[in-house]
Point group: C2
Chain length 247, copies 2
């Protein structure tokens, strides 16, 4: 990992009808978002699209154009509805075929007599792509341009992300501190807006929750890449909270 001066950004593209129908509940977005944030890559946007080539191509091209990286999940299995690799090849305008390196990886897991046409789909890799090893079940993901294509099964996706992370360009990590307000969100909203304005380089988020006794409470999350700015804003937030009328 190298640390860049400019923010390093990412988008996430989740591919699959089963997410859009609600049959499968996505568990990858939150995992990838938290992981990338922790290493200094800002996730700027997320999309979920169906297993339709033109939708995938359009989303890949829109998201890769305006982010440092695009991470995709899903659609790289052995069945007819797994069209991610072909769609990504189309988005890049490159050819796609069975990759001998990927075929060799499959043969570490699959007996040669079982390597049928369906399983060979999992070795179809766009021309020019690097492979992303899959320590769980061998069928690899791949990395082409700034697009990293991963499996949809969470355990496999997570293993692939671990392979990729050390090679990513990263920015300065976003620091954050959470302050429990012990106040209702509507009571901190006014002073908080003034504080946010007074602290450029810092963002302050406000998240209501019900506390142990069921009373409305609020978490304030202060974020900055600069430790000094963060500390100053947190100090002001705490002073503001101390000045609120006791409830």
């Amino acid at each position: 990992m190298t640390s860049a001066a400019e923010p390093v950004t990412a988008a996430i593209l989740v591919i699959g009808d089963e997410i859009l129908s609600g049959r499968t509940k996505d568990r990858n977005i939150g995992y990838i978002a938290e992981y990338l944030t922790a290493i200094g890559v800002d996730v700027r946007e997320v999309r979920v699209v169906s297993d339709v080539e033109e939708e995938i191509v359009a989303a890949v091209n829109a998201l890769r154009a305006r982010n440092t990286y695009l991470f995709t999940t899903g659609g790289i299995g052995p069945t007819h509805d797994d069209i991610t690799a072909d769609s990504v090849a189309k988005a890049f305008g490159v050819s796609i075929d069975v990759d001998p390196r990927a075929r060799a990886m499959l043969l570490e897991y699959i007996k040669p007599e079982d390597l049928n046409e369906a399983r060979l789909r999992m070795a179809r890799i766009p021309a020019g792509a690097e492979l992303v090893p899959n320590p769980v079940s061998k069928a690899p993901g791949f990395w082409i341009g700034n697009v990293i294509v991963m499996a949809g099964v969470p355990a496999i996706m997570q293993a692939m992300l671990d392979q990729v992370a050390p090679k990513l360009k990263t920015g300065r990590v976003m620091l954050s501190e959470s302050v429990r307000a012990d106040a209702r969100e509507g009571d901190v909203g006014g002073p908080l807006a003034a504080l946010a304005k007074a602290h450029p380089g810092v963002t302050i988020g406000s998240y209501p929750f019900a506390d142990e006794s069921g009373r409305p409470n609020t978490n304030l999350v202060v974020r900055s890449r600069e430790a000094g700015l963060l500390d100053a804003a947190v100090a002001d937030v705490k002073a503001m909270l101390a000045g609120l009328p006791r409830r």
Copy 2:
């Protein structure tokens, strides 16, 4: 609810930095997707964007233009980072101000002396919008054009969706049947592709999972709006599975 001949489609837009940073794990996408699918509304795409006006405006306009409905969650609270209502007004090119109906709703929950400027933000509603009542904490959502704006807190969002659902135009419900293959995905992939081609009007998804004894297994999900087409495809899927070599 009225049933239309054409598919009724929806997009979901989740608004909030806390989702993109991974601090908060989204629980709304899967809920809304499953809910809408069950009543005959097809979710075609999902996006998550940050609390930045131009991002919200662009996503609202892109998604409302090509879907019957757009459902948004998040960003309608009392703090400075809650900018969804203003952004939606901007997307529609209409004015926004404190709505007397929404103000009256807030006063059912909040004492008049507590109705400060921050809380009044929650009564800011774009001109021409219908309110969506909030039985949990009163601050309403709203419905403008084909866009339905809901809270991000799951319990409140769910209550709002219950209010809205009876008024939605709905299509024919997508029927689905899940068949446990008791086979590895790579062994069903070939015959399944042929079956999918032979059954227009039906989609067949394939989802690998590890069964009780840890062996790779596959769920096949057959979907169609036509009961007859569904039954015929399911019968063919079962016959195909029965013809596979025993493992």
